[in-house]
């Protein structure tokens, strides 16, 4: 599995030993694009002063949020707090009325299209599991796999042994290997959730946005997902929107509470749960 070691902002001059790019750098070719996301300040995502309104309704209101490299952040908040709108802004589906959104230090997300953002390294799982139902599980991952995604490349594309191995590796991790040739539309809800997570993984994103990933999963599956996410953190940055507090407690380093389109509280789950404003928002007065 390709891995990019996290960059430590405190040791900016520390040489980066990365297996794929170092040789190129040594002979002056510069680093490969895979490792090229500029995260010298230690943040993979910075949202500053984001506001979005739909017909006068303020879905996001001067939102400020930073995700660190390799961090696993959970976002919670009552319905209508702006969680999904925030994901739409990050993935380019919705343009903010004001504010800035940067991926790494240099990529301005407000000027990029959905597919450019995905290619730059942000993967998104939808609230409702969305897979290509007419294709097999294996083919779903084949399409998602990190590769040249232009029209011409797709006309002549053939899977290399390495790519096939990578897909099988992810299938094995997600316990979907026996179902590889099954049509994705025939999977159970939980299996579709895992397939969609697998599609994100083979995309090799730097940042994963996961909208309610454990909805409709059994307890065992939820536990397995928590374990999976913890193992992903470090190599990837994750942002998880979830209502299941048990799940949030089992995975998150940091929790952000959104309310009425802006950040209400941040901190560990215990800290957040003690915060009076949070209690008020969740339970009412």
């Amino acid at each position: 599995m390709r891995s990019v070691p996290p960059v430590h902002p405190e040791f900016m001059l520390e040489p980066i030993f990365d297996q794929i790019g170092s040789g190129r750098e040594a002979i002056g070719l510069g680093r490969r694009r895979e490792a090229g996301l500029d995260t010298r300040h230690g943040t993979v995502l910075s949202l500053e002063g984001i506001s979005v309104s739909f017909d006068g309704f303020k879905a996001l209101n001067d939102l400020n949020l930073y995700i660190g490299v390799g961090e696993l952040r959970c976002i919670i908040g009552p319905n209508g707090a702006g969680k999904t709108t925030m994901m739409d802004v990050i993935t380019g589906k919705t343009r903010p009325d004001s504010g800035t959104a940067y991926f790494g230090d240099t990529l301005d997300l407000t000027r990029m299209s959905e597919c450019q953002i995905a290619q730059a390294g942000i993967g998104r799982k939808f609230q409702k599991p969305t897979v290509f139902e007419a294709l097999t599980v294996f083919e779903n991952l084949e399409l998602a796999l990190k590769a040249d995604k232009s029209v011409w490349a797709s006309l002549v594309a053939r899977l290399s042994g390495e790519q096939r191995q990578r897909i099988e590796e992810v299938l094995a991790t997600l316990r979907l290997l026996p179902l590889a040739q099954r049509q994705a539309g025939l999977l159970s809800h939980g299996q579709k959730q895992f397939l969609e997570i697998g599609m994100l993984l083979v995309q090799e994103p730097r940042l994963l946005l996961l909208d309610e990933p454990v909805a409709g999963m059994t307890d065992a599956e939820t536990e397995f997902t928590a374990e999976l996410f913890r193992s992903l953190a470090g190599h990837h940055s994750l942002m998880v929107v979830e209502h299941d507090m048990g799940f949030v407690g089992s995975i998150a380093d940091h929790v952000t509470v959104l309310h009425q389109g802006s950040v209400l509280a941040q901190g560990s789950l215990a800290q957040v749960q003690e915060d009076e404003r949070v209690v008020e928002v969740y339970l009412g007065r």
Binding site: T91, S113, E114, C115, A118, Q119, G123, R124, F126, T130, V131, F132, E133, A134, L135, E139, E142, L143, A144, K149, S150, V151, S154, L155, V156, A157, M199, Q203
Partner: protein, 359 residues
């Protein structure tokens, strides 16, 4: 353990049977033009009428295949494919009219007392340029229309309505005498093609063979496309376009390529249709023609390559019988057929056959 073996065995037998049927059909199609060359009165002689009828249906089958590529695979229901077909036909017709007119102007222009050819007729006396036009006219129109439609993310029923409006607009434009394409009479009275007499049996047989060749060629091309990663991406566009965008693909390029390819195939089919049938007029662009093409595809089976060919053959075969036997009832029958297929055969005839072979 036994069950999967049996299933694969019947499936293999199924493919073998369908391969055999396909081979027989191709052989018959190749034999038809040769039989038509037999002397008059010979027992096995195929009449010019039959040859033209089958040739016409083969051209329609290419249209059905092209429509299936965009509808069955990429999920773009076009109700305006007749326009691309007619444009290809008109491009070929321009050449045929120039051939028939010799050094003078085509008949309908002298009738309108025009003294010179409009600029867009320039070069149409050359067969090579006419062939370029056959590809360019539908191709460029599809490119421009597709570019704007896909850029604005027009989908579903809105897309279908726009394609239908497009072909309707084309029909109204070509109905006008001032457009310079013969108004509502269109082009007819062709004489020669590349110097050969267009009504001669040899020419007809050659055109028929070309049509069979184009059909097999398009079938092979579509088969290769749908088996490739590109084909899987088309079904992904159809089923979950958002997912595809967040996987890092720009769906516009994929849609545009398949849309233009489909239009060009229709144009080529139209170019072979006109010399065989001997007439092209704006009624080919009428929305009902394009809707009928959608019925062929739905009846045969969307998202399969053989289905649309079957559908085009079945519906047109029935049509030529029906319009002789009960001319008033054909349209009612067609409508009823469409409703029945939609309700009871969502996967078309091919789906029915598949179901039978896998109990």
């Amino acid at each position: 353990m036994n069950q999967p073996l049996i299933v694969t065995a019947t499936r293999k037998a199924g493919t073998r049977v369908s391969m055999a049927v396909g081979a027989v059909v191709v052989l018959v199609l190749l034999a038809l033009p040769l039989l038509s060359l037999l002397p008059d009165g010979h027992a096995l002689q195929v009449s010019a009428y039959t040859l033209t009828l089958v040739g016409k249906i083969l051209c329609y089958a290419i249209v059905a295949l092209a429509l299936d590529l965009v509808w069955g695979y990429a999920g773009l229901l076009s109700l305006g494919h007749g326009l691309f077909f007619a444009l290809g036909g008109y491009a070929m017709g321009m050449y045929l009219m120039r051939q028939a007119a010799g050094d003078g102007l085509p008949g309908f222009m002298t009738f309108l007392s025009w003294s010179e050819l409009p600029w867009y007729w320039a070069g149409t006396q050359h067969f090579a340029w006419a062939l370029c036009l056959v590809v360019l006219a539908p191709g460029l129109l599809a490119l421009v229309f597709g570019f704007f439609a896909f850029r604005s993310r027009i989908k579903g029923v809105y897309f279908s309505i726009m394609t239908q409006a497009l072909t309707f607009a084309g029909m109204l434009l070509f109905f006008r005498n001032e457009t310079g394409f013969g108004g509502n009479n269109g082009f007819t009275n062709f004489r020669t093609i590349l110097g050969f007499d267009i009504t001669a049996q040899g020419t007809r047989a050659a055109l028929f063979l070309l049509t069979v060749g184009l059909l097999l060629g398009s079938l092979f091309l579509c088969w290769r496309l749908t088996q490739s990663k590109f084909g899987r991406l088309l079904t992904a566009v159809r089923d979950a376009e958002n997912r595809l965008m967040f996987c890092g693909y720009d769906p516009r390029g994929f849609k545009l390529l398949v849309w233009v390819l489909s239009a060009v195939l229709c144009g080529l089919a139209g170019a072979l249709y006109v010399p065989q049938v001997g007439i092209i007029n704006p009624s080919e662009m009428s929305p009902t023609n394009s809707i009928e093409a959608a019925v062929w595809v739905a009846l045969g089976g969307r998202g399969t390559l053989i289905g649309p060919l079957l559908g085009a053959g079945l519906v047109n075969g029935m049509k030529s019988w029906f319009t002789v036997a009960f001319p008033e009832f054909w349209l009612f029958f067609l409508g009823a057929l469409f409703i029945l297929v939609t309700l009871y055969l969502p996967k078309g005839v091919v789906g029915l056959v598949k179901k039978r072979s896998q109990p």
